[in-house]
């Protein structure tokens, strides 16, 4: 690890939904600049909640959150944080609300106070980076599942964040699109945390993998490289694993 303070630091976080049992319990988590972290845990273990806590979308019942070395608690604190941390939602339909792709990708930069032409330049550049040239005037709801995922990644990247939080980025995608997204993520020059159920994907894109157990984040060394058998599409054909 390095000596700089963590950019995401969760201290003794406790969280429970109203009337429900605790989802996160005395959770401690440190994330440093340059880290590439995977998070693999069962459904309902609080992974998405963890992301929403970091973005200030839900409030912890108790505990402290420090981001970029500063404690954050009020809505105003989080406003500044949200431009530096980008969250990719599980469902692209939640993220894409504008009629056209261009308007959606430019929405973030415009909120950051960029002029219309600057925002459009950023949007063009981001779309081109993701291989989405010519998508500007496409209607968001008419995109395919894979295209929607790529465009919602574009809307997040257009904010030029320092950290990415990716919530199941491969969810519901076909083999080709998965490979494309995996490659894009691997080549990003950003720190990121990925939630996924796909251990192969996490092994190839992240340096360490954690899990959540009993509301706490654990470094899961058992999950580090190990021989395994599994079934996946076209598994009968010769193929390589990293």
């Amino acid at each position: 690890m390095n000596s700089a303070p963590p950019i995401i630091h969760l201290k003794d976080i406790h969280f429970s939904y109203p009337g429900g049992k605790a989802v996160l319990n005395h959770l401690d988590f440190k994330f440093y600049r340059g880290d590439r972290t995977g998070l693999i845990a069962p459904n309902g273990s609080g992974k998405t909640t963890l992301f929403h806590l970091i973005m200030g979308l839900v409030k912890p019942s108790s505990g402290k959150i420090e981001l970029f070395g500063k404690p954050v608690s009020t809505a105003r604190d989080f406003e500044d944080v949200r431009r530096r941390i980008g969250l990719l939602f599980q469902d692209p339909d939640d993220q894409l609300f504008s009629p056209t792709v261009m308007e959606d990708v430019a929405f973030g930069p415009l909120n950051l106070g960029k002029s219309k032409s600057e925002a459009q330049t950023i949007a063009h550049r981001t779309l081109a980076y993701l291989g989405l040239e010519g998508f500007e005037d496409r209607i968001t709801y008419k995109l395919s599942g894979g295209e929607k995922r790529l465009v919602s990644l574009a809307t997040v990247l257009a904010m030029e964040p320092e950290v990415l939080l990716l919530d199941e980025p491969l969810n519901g995608l076909d083999v080709d699109t998965r490979a494309k997204i995996e490659e894009i993520i691997f080549n990003l020059d950003l720190s990121y945390i990925i939630i996924s159920h796909d251990i192969d994907f996490l092994l190839s894109t992240t340096a360490q993998i954690y899990t959540i157990k009993n509301g706490k984040i654990l470094f899961d060394d058992k999950l580090q490289i190990h021989a395994h058998r599994h079934a996946h599409p076209h598994g009968q054909y010769p193929h390589e694993h990293e």
């Binding site: 469902d91 009629p99 261009m102 430019a106 929405f107 219309k116 709801y141 904010m159």
Partner: protein
């Protein structure tokens, strides 16, 4: 799935600045709706037909839409002539067909067809997102414009969720009938649709917050008003003046 078949096209009307088209369609529709005399209404139907031709819309699609609307006016033709009191035009046995009812039905039919055709040619020839942006530029309140655009964006998502719920019911043997079980099932489905839509709205709002949303929307559309626009505006202005003149001529008699 909702479609916008008229929005794709490259006629003169498609190229006219949407703001000008909206303004023209609004004024024209109001004048037609307020007119009462047949020369005026017949002229309006003619003018609307001319607009349809200018927009180069597929006649088949236009006719289909007109049939839908005219099935409603047919209902008026069945009801109004029999119920409107006044001088009797024809008596068929115990039924009396009233003169003023017939006139009223004819007026409504001509008006609705003229207005509908004008809207098809002028408004349906732009996508809803263009319509939203244009309304925004015409200084309609932000909230209304974005309510319109958001509704349009999520109506498809909500429709998909409805289909999912319906399928879930159907694969378990649900067949709608006239019984309490059917009503209850539909109530559950509609209720669940509301719950899901509310949750969806919550997630969309959160996603917007994550991208720095500060209760302000921006409009990227660029509109320009050039020679074609003024030509079109003048032509529509003349058409409206002619309608008003015809109406005034009759009113004077």
């Amino acid at each position: 799935m909702l479609q916008e078949p008229f929005a794709v096209g490259n006629s003169i009307l498609h190229r006219i600045d949407p703001r000008m088209r909206i303004a023209a369609a609004t004024v024209y529709s109001v004048i037609v709706a307020l007119s009462r005399h047949f020369p005026t209404l017949a002229t309006a139907v003619g003018a609307s037909l001319a607009l349809i031709m200018l927009a180069k819309l597929r006649p088949r699609d236009v006719v289909i839409r007109l049939i839908i609307v005219n099935s409603f006016t047919l209902l008026l033709w069945l009801v109004l002539p029999l119920t409107f009191q006044g001088s009797v035009a024809i008596s068929i046995g115990p039924l009396s067909v009233y003169h003023s009812g017939l006139i009223m039905s004819a007026q409504i039919t001509l008006k609705s067809n003229a207005i509908l055709m004008a809207l098809m040619a002028l408004i349906a020839t732009m996508t809803l997102s263009t319509l939203g942006s244009a309304l925004n530029r015409l200084h309609l309140p932000d909230k209304i414009v974005h309510l319109l655009l958001m509704t349009y964006r999520y109506i498809f998502v909500i429709e998909q969720e409805f289909q999912r719920l319906m399928r879930a019911a159907q694969i378990r043997g649900f067949r709608p009938g006239t019984n309490l079980h059917t009503y209850k099932t539909y109530a559950y489905i509609v209720g669940m649709l509301f719950v899901r839509s509310a949750l969806r709205a919550d997630r969309v709002y959160k996603a917007m917050l994550c991208r720095g949303f500060k209760r302000k929307f921006y409009c990227l559309h660029q509109f320009r008003t050039g020679k074609e626009e003024w030509l079109f505006g003048t032509a529509m202005g003349v058409a409206v003046m002619v309608l008003i003149y015809l109406e005034w001529l009759k009113a004077g008699v």
